[in-house]
């Protein structure tokens, strides 16, 4: 009799096994199966074994997925199992298995998830659950496609890859930084263009309808001259490019677009977006690149991480081999020498001397700028037409030239100091930073005087205008009232200078001259040098290519700093000249193509390649500092307490976000240390 019971049990188990491979969707079908089984049991066996059979049935029931007969705990367990499988699928790419094993695991897990997921929803909630699952799948597919699309959209990928394979990742990092800057500027330009310039151009009062929007009668004759336009005077001055064009009417056009509010908000938005983007990148870098200044793995890192796998060029590879060998030999030597220390006093004296010389340079350049700005004010009072081109553009030229020559001077001075190259680079960057900062602030202070002068002028002119208008009015009223009031063409109305436009103009001129100097430097410094070395080599006594002067190396730090300070000036001037951001976008675009060509045509890979990759966050930190400092002057001008406190709140939030991410990095470091200690203690026990 037991055999019959066992047979029944076998049958029922078989049925259950079959039902497991089908999706258990139809409740009716399941109920029928259950009924059939019960009948069979009732029909066939002795009553004593029915309890055992019932137990068996219960046991085998647990294996079958029938949602409505599973207890909540079992449902939970099943759900957990499904979630675990899903996590496994997600983590498969990070497992160091061969593809075949990954494929097998993937297919198994996907089958499991599909089978049980559909069955998990219970009763009424089932359709919703299935719907949710479907939506999640679609969402993940959409995300993946979007990622693919985003990667395909990134411009200049092939160019940068070529540079990477020829010059290694450190030179390429400059171009990646340039591309990132371009992206930010495009977004800022979009904001400014879309929300400020276009509404004003389309819906604001057109050119010629108001005094501030019209070229004064006196200047009309020369307003279209190229020379005047190049200086951003004439028609360029009275356009959407500059602050002065914007009316203070509360709403413009049929949309009732609130122009002044929009202008202000775009300014705020520019600041907020810039802060957010810079801090987010810094936080990401800090997380990725590990924590702290670690010198404890010097040799190991040289051994395991010095080869750059992106190199695809034989000449670059040879260079890399040579530099690795040199760095090994130097490191060994340094380690031996660090045990002896001779002549500290001489080294210290030389270093103090070098710093003193650098301070003298900085002071000299600051004074030079102040002097030149004062002189240009005098020229302006005399009337600009009486002076030569140099005298008119003296300030911009002097600032750009100082920015070009002083770093070279610092480089020469630093040979006195005899530091390790990485330390020397940091000193160099710090000094260049101080130079730029000093120059910029001297420039602004000098500008301040001019601004104050212009404001006084403005007051006087305003007073004169009211007097003049009053006289006009009085004149018409004294005659018969039937005569129509006199209308005056806006070009004839006397008006004072707009100091904001003037400031905007100064910034635009500065940026343009900076751009010119950079391009000329590359053309003459790199390209000219390459041509001379290549062609003079045929008729020169020593090998120009191997010895001095040879081809130039790409100056990463100089270029990165130039980019950072350029961006600082944009931030500073963008409030006064909305067109400035557009100009910068153009500048970055031409810079990208021009420098890509120049580096491939005229530069050679570095001989000494030490990776300045930790300086990624150093450059970002510099950018943040420049952002903060460059937005101080316009903020001082806005002088709204509310505005200040909002900015403080924003600052706090961003600081918290950054500190949070850095603390996560430190936590990770702590875990690593604990692991290390555990390993050590395990080995000793």
């Amino acid at each position: 009799m037991s055999t019959a019971g066992e047979q029944d049990a076998d049958l029922s188990l078989q049925e259950e096994h079959e039902s497991k491979t089908h999706r258990t969707k139809r409740r009716d079908g399941e109920r029928q199966k259950k009924k059939r089984r019960n009948e069979r049991r009732k029909g066939g066996t002795r009553p004593e074994t029915s309890e055992e059979d019932d137990d068996e049935e219960e046991d085998s029931d647990k294996d079958v997925v029938r949602p409505e007969c599973l207890s909540p705990e079992e449902l939970e367990k099943l759900k957990e199992a499904v979630d675990e499988r899903k996590k496994l699928i997600q983590s498969l790419r990070g497992k160091p298995w061969p593809m075949k094993k990954k494929l097998v695991t993937l297919r198994e897990s996907q089958e499991f998830v599909e089978k049980y997921e559909g069955a998990l929803g219970k009763g009424k909630g089932r359709k919703l659950y299935a719907y949710k699952v479907l939506m999640t799948k679609k969402w993940m597919k959409f995300q993946r496609d979007f990622e693919n699309f985003k990667t395909a959209c990134i411009p200049w990928e092939m160019k940068i890859k070529e540079i990477e394979s020829h010059f290694g990742s450190s030179v390429a990092s400059y171009f990646i930084f340039l591309r990132w800057m371009y992206g930010i500027n495009m977004i800022l330009f979009g904001l400014t263009f879309g929300l400020v310039m276009v509404p004003e151009a389309l819906m604001g009062r057109p050119y010629g309808s108001m005094p501030r929007k019209t070229v004064p009668r006196a200047e009309e004759a020369s307003a279209m001259d190229f020379a005047v336009l190049w200086d951003f005077g004439g028609y360029a001055q009275y356009s959407v490019l500059f602050y002065g064009y914007y009316n203070n009417q509360r709403t413009v056009g049929w949309l009732k677009f609130r122009m002044p509010l929009s202008y202000f908000l775009v300014g705020v938005g520019t600041v907020a977006y810039s802060y957010m983007v810079v801090i987010r990148t810094m936080a990401r870098n800090a997380n990725e690149s590990g924590v702290g200044d670690d010198n404890s793995f010097n040799f190991s890192w040289k051994m395991f991480t010095s080869w750059d796998y992106l190199i695809g060029n034989a000449e670059t590879a040879d260079n890399k081999f040579a530099s690795i060998t040199t760095s090994f030999k130097e490191a060994i030597l340094e380690e031996q020498e660090s045990h002896k220390d001779d002549n500290i006093h001489l080294t210290r004296f030389l270093r103090v001397l070098a710093n003193f010389l650098v301070l003298c340079c900085l002071a000299g350049s600051g004074y030079l700028i102040y002097f030149v700005v004062r002189r240009s004010q005098k020229f302006a009072l005399d009337g600009l037409e009486n002076h030569t081109w140099w005298e008119r553009n003296e300030v911009n030229m002097v600032m750009s030239l100082l920015g070009m020559f002083c770093p070279m001077l610092f480089d020469v001075i630093s040979t006195l100091e005899n530091y390790h190259p990485r330390v020397a680079l940091q000193w160099q960057l710090g000094r260049i930073f101080a130079l730029f900062l000093g120059n910029l602030y001297t420039f602004i202070i000098a500008l301040m005087d001019e601004i104050n002068l212009k404001r006084k002028e403005e007051k006087v002119v305003k007073f004169n205008i009211t007097m003049w208008e009053a006289s006009l009015y009085n004149g018409t009223v004294s005659e018969n009232s039937t005569a129509p009031p006199v209308t005056i063409h806006p070009a004839d109305v006397p008006r004072g200078p707009c100091w904001e436009t003037m400031v905007g103009q100064e910034f635009v001129k500065l940026i343009v001259s900076d751009m010119q100097v950079t391009f000329l430097t590359i053309l003459i410094g790199d390209f000219g040098r390459a041509i001379i070395v290549r062609f003079l080599n045929y008729c020169w006594c020593w090998d120009l290519e191997a010895g001095i002067p040879s081809y130039a190396e790409f100056d990463i730090s100089g270029n990165v700093l130039g980019l950072i300070f350029n961006q600082g000036m944009i931030w500073m001037g963008a409030f006064y000249a909305p067109g400035l951001v557009g100009l910068n976008v153009l500048r970055l675009l031409t810079s990208m193509y021009f420098q890509c060509w120049a580096v491939m045509a005229c530069n050679v890979p570095h001989e000494r390649v030490f990776k300045a990759s930790r300086s990624n966050n150093f450059y970002m930190g510099l950018l943040l500092l420049v952002l903060f400092l460059s937005l101080l002057p316009p903020d001082c001008n806005l002088i709204h307490l509310q505005w200040h406190s909002k900015r403080l709140i924003l600052c706090n939030r961003l600081a918290i976000y950054y500190l949070n991410t850095v603390s996560k990095g430190y936590q990770q470091a702590n875990l690593d240390l604990k692991k290390k200690m555990k390993m050590v203690s395990m080995n000793f026990s």
Partner: protein
Amino acid sequence: MGTTASQLSKESLSEYQELTFLTKQEILLAHKRFTELLEKHEKQQIDARAPMGRITTLPELKSNPFKERICQVFSTSEQKDGSLTFEDFLDLLSAFSDSATLEIKSHYAFRIFDFDDDGTLDCADLEKLVNCLTGETNDAKLSSTEMKQLISNILEESDIDKDGTVNLSEFQHVISRSPDFVSSFKIVL
């Protein structure tokens, strides 16, 4: 199952996207470059293998001193000859891609540096590694005293349990603190 002829099936493509760090375009480009390496008669085979000699002619690998080791680590052939199928090739590109995690990169880096495949980096492995890095010419090689000094310095830094070799966890610990590793351990087609 596997890849055949000159077309990747949609299903395979989505599976590969799930299992590697590569985007769809990268997988398609890899397929194109891989089939260029195959002979005409091999192109129609399922799971065709490209021999190591041909793979190391790829411009991305040509100048790499570890190209043979890379092929051998990612190869699944029974003869251990370093030949790669398309799926092995995808594994290679995935481990070297921009979005790969530190763990997987350090795992494969360890296997690449383990010249004798014994699971640890001992003195012989380290010596071969240094010679790979300094190039082929004789005058570039380090002298034997320099070599001894270098290897003892490295073991002092990385060998925590002091057994004379660097194992995987010690290696990963060293690598994880390095700021340069992730950005330099990259190959992009």
